[in-house]
């Protein structure tokens, strides 16, 4: 869905000062069943996910044996299965990856993306609005945990999955519930975000996106994901490389949030230079609909990754980029 600037300004205002809903069906959803599900996931990813009890959840990063990011995955214990949320379009890749390493383990992974729906309610008032609509108490729902309920006579699960500092709740249901849920939210006065506005909110909150800031070009330390790395849990795929990078401080670059003097055209590669020396590149750009601020994300060599540092943007984008934050999606480390 596309919308004009004034539409996006009001949508952005709703999401950042009240509550709005986004059709997040593109997020991959896998159903994992089996006694060894957590044991295997713990051996394949960076965070300690051995003990996720019913109703609980956690984030982790699947990594390759070179320590590169395969994907950030949210694991939630729904009760009779574990729900894995992947990046959009990555569910088959992750399913294949898990299948590849399932040798003796009791684990079956099913792709349920098409048979389910996922709507995300985002905004500072999302909690109170959802509590009012569902009758559920959500104030004690910890991040990445899940609670079951019903909405518009449809069975739903709600996962608290904040977008940085902005509260966000994912509502999961069977696909045939989608129209009823969307209609109910619309009747309740909760506006629907378009993808451009949602993406701007993601960038503003420094949420890395697959293919731009996360993927097998980067390792979790570069991507500011240290809060999802447990350095004491023991071996997992890529652990040796990640531990070495951390111990010997060999991280070469870092994800940064920037503001720009001019619009950035990402249809061509946008390099960042300092004294005519290449120091990084821009990976995401958006204009904040309310004030028109030009912000984005990118990677900068570690020696230059400090708040306040400025760079020249190469090519036809002759503007200036200034680092305004060093994001860490899951916090500063465990």
């Amino acid at each position: 869905m596309s919308s004009n600037i004034s539409d996006r300004t009001s949508l952005y205002a709703a999401a950042t000062s009240d509550a709005a809903i986004y059709d997040n069906d593109r997020i991959g959803r896998l159903k994992a069943i089996g006694e060894d599900a957590l044991d295997l996931l713990n051996r394949l990813s960076t965070n300690l996910v051995l003990d996720i009890k019913e109703g609980e959840g956690n984030h982790t990063v699947l990594t390759t044996n070179r320590g590169r990011i395969l994907d950030i995955v949210t694991i939630t214990n729904i009760g009779d299965h574990f729900l894995l949320l992947t990046s959009p379009g990555e569910e088959e890749h992750i399913q294949e990856w898990l299948d590849k390493y399932t040798i003796m383990e009791d684990l079956e992974v099913e792709n349920i993306t098409d048979e389910t729906t996922m709507l995300s309610v985002v905004g500072p008032n999302s909690l109170s609005k959802l509590e009012s609509l569902t009758g559920l108490s959500l104030s004690k729902l910890k991040d990445y945990n899940v609670v079951k309920g019903s909405l518009a006579s449809q069975e739903i699960s709600i996962i608290a999955r904040p977008m940085g500092s902005l509260p966000c709740f994912d509502i999961l249901a069977q696909i045939n519930s989608k129209d009823s849920l969307l209609g109910f939210f619309s009747d309740s006065g909760i506006v629907s975000l378009d993808s451009e506005t949602y993406d701007a909110i993601k960038v503003e909150n420094a949420i890395p996106s697959y293919g731009r800031e996360i993927g097998d070009r980067y390792n979790p330390l570069e991507a500011g994901l240290i809060g999802s790395i447990n350095f004491e849990k023991g071996c997992y795929i890529g652990q040796e490389v990640i531990a070495r990078l951390d111990t010997y401080q060999k991280v070469q670059r870092r994800l940064v949030k920037m503001q720009f003097s001019d619009e950035v055209d990402l249809s061509e590669e946008c390099l960042l230079t300092k004294d005519e020396q290449e120091v990084g590149r821009i990976t995401s750009f958006c204009m904040i609909p309310s004030g028109g601020e030009k912000i984005g994300l990118g990677y900068v060599r570690i020696a230059f990754a400090e708040i306040g540092n400025t760079f020249q943007i190469s090519g036809d984008n002759q503007g200036i980029a200034e680092i305004i934050d060093l994001p860490q999606l899951f916090g500063p480390g465990q």
Partner: protein, 118 residues
Amino acid sequence: MSITMDGVELGVQISEKAAEKIKYFAEKEGIEANVGLRVAVKGGGCSGMTYDLHITDEELESDKIVEQFGVKVMVDKKSYIYLVGTELDFSDGLNGKGFVFTNPNATKSCGCGTSFAV
């Protein structure tokens, strides 16, 4: 399915020193007859696959079993394809690594030697 070389079925081979250690650990677990070592592969470890060892006296019908130095080495059929031709030794002493695998199927091994990639 069996994998052979020059008409000889390949399996997991163990050294005499490894066999002695297996018997030692088996005795500690109260197993004195039909001493067996189950060798398996699990997903995980630094490089993707990791070795899994268990002392046992229980054989499975589908196991590939090779008996050497009085020890039965049992490998389940799924692990067999990752382990065929592997040699298991024991490295002792102050700087010893314990059980050491030499796996011809491994394209990469991690520093501690318990994980490999194929």
